[in-house]
């Protein structure tokens, strides 16, 4: 289970509201490579991991992504708080403002609401970990584009650089977990069908527990 720490993982302190930046940064909140998708992806995939290290790393990175979700939400909140209606209109946020005001709503930069279609749980640890490696690279690339777009505001760049760096670390850890899983699967003969719960259910003499 989880408990809440009443602090951000890394501070967010933005002095000047800038709804234009909020409009693009929201993508890391509820977009395809955003923190919500990342957290749900890892926390859902962890149930199917075959070894200790991959269970732990998905659990712990999935948890850290929730802290990142909070940071991105804080950035969006501070960039829109106190902005005038003219600034919001000029930033192209009139449609967002119509439906959400200046609440932080999980959607992509293009305005598409968050969907679980952004994540995959394939029932295959290798496929899942490969997806996770790609997801971290896509998130890193997104942060780099956002850092380009925020070049005039160091207060925004600072937490974005921290978040980008974390993607790199997560990629490294997922790579190590993947190698561990590959080694584990290579240890013994591995038939994909043995892993299928349907097969175990159909064989009522053998529950699969080995007794």
């Amino acid at each position: 289970m989880w408990t809440y720490d009443k602090r951000l993982e890394y501070p967010v302190n933005i002095k000047c509201p800038n709804p234009k930046l909020a409009k693009v940064i929201i993508s890391q909140y509820g977009g395809p490579d955003g923190e919500l998708a990342a957290s749900l992806r890892y926390l859902s995939q962890r149930f199917g991991m075959p070894d200790q290290k991959s269970k732990a790393i998905l659990n712990d990175i999935g948890t850290e992504e929730l802290a990142h979700l909070e940071m991105v939400g804080s950035i969006v909140h501070q960039l829109t708080k106190g902005a005038s209606i003219e600034e919001i209109e000029k930033a192209g946020l009139a449609p967002y403002y119509t439906d959400h005001g200046v609440d932080v709503y999980p959607a992509s930069a293009a305005g598409v609401p968050f969907t679980a279609a952004y994540i995959a749980c394939k029932g295959d640890p290798i496929a899942n970990l490969q997806e996770d490696l790609a997801a971290e690279q896509k998130a890193r690339a997104t942060y780099e584009k956002l850092i380009d777009l925020c070049r005039d505001d160091p207060d925004v760049i600072d937490p974005l650089r921290f978040l980008r760096e974390r993607e790199v670390v997560h990629f490294q850890r997922f790579g190590e977990a993947l190698r561990g899983v590959q080694d584990k699967l290579a240890e013994k003969k591995f038939y994909m069908n043995n892993n299928c719960p349907m097969n175990q259910m159909n064989n009522d003499k053998d529950c699969g527990c080995g007794n």
């Binding site: 289970m1 962890r46 149930f47 200790q52 290290k53 269970k55 732990a56 659990n59 712990d60």
Partner: protein, 88 residues
């Protein structure tokens, strides 16, 4: 190994920890909307103290409940994980 811990099983200790943590969650929700209730604050204080003692005891024997528990060996990896029925 800690003597007191041998008196109750892992499951028994875990259930106690669950109960106290749940009480703290429930009290916190209540206090969010009734922050001036002295009796609730008193109970919250008592439960926080008890749960800390229980968690310290549990973790010494059965390994960490959070990543904030210091250790010489990284027991965080040990199975079962909470979603596996052996843990419950």
């Amino acid at each position: 190994m800690h003597n007191n811990c041998m008196e109750s099983t892992r499951e028994e200790m875990l259930m106690k920890i669950r109960e106290y943590n749940f009480s703290i969650i429930e009290l916190a929700l209540y206090l969010d909307t009734h922050p001036d209730d002295k009796k609730a604050i008193c109970m919250h204080k008592e439960y926080c103290k008890t749960v800390k003692e229980l968690e310290d005891k549990y973790q010494k024997v059965y390994g960490p409940l959070t990543i904030k528990y210091p250790c010489n060996k990284w027991r965080w990896l040990e199975e079962p994980w909470p979603w596996e029925k052996e843990a419950n």
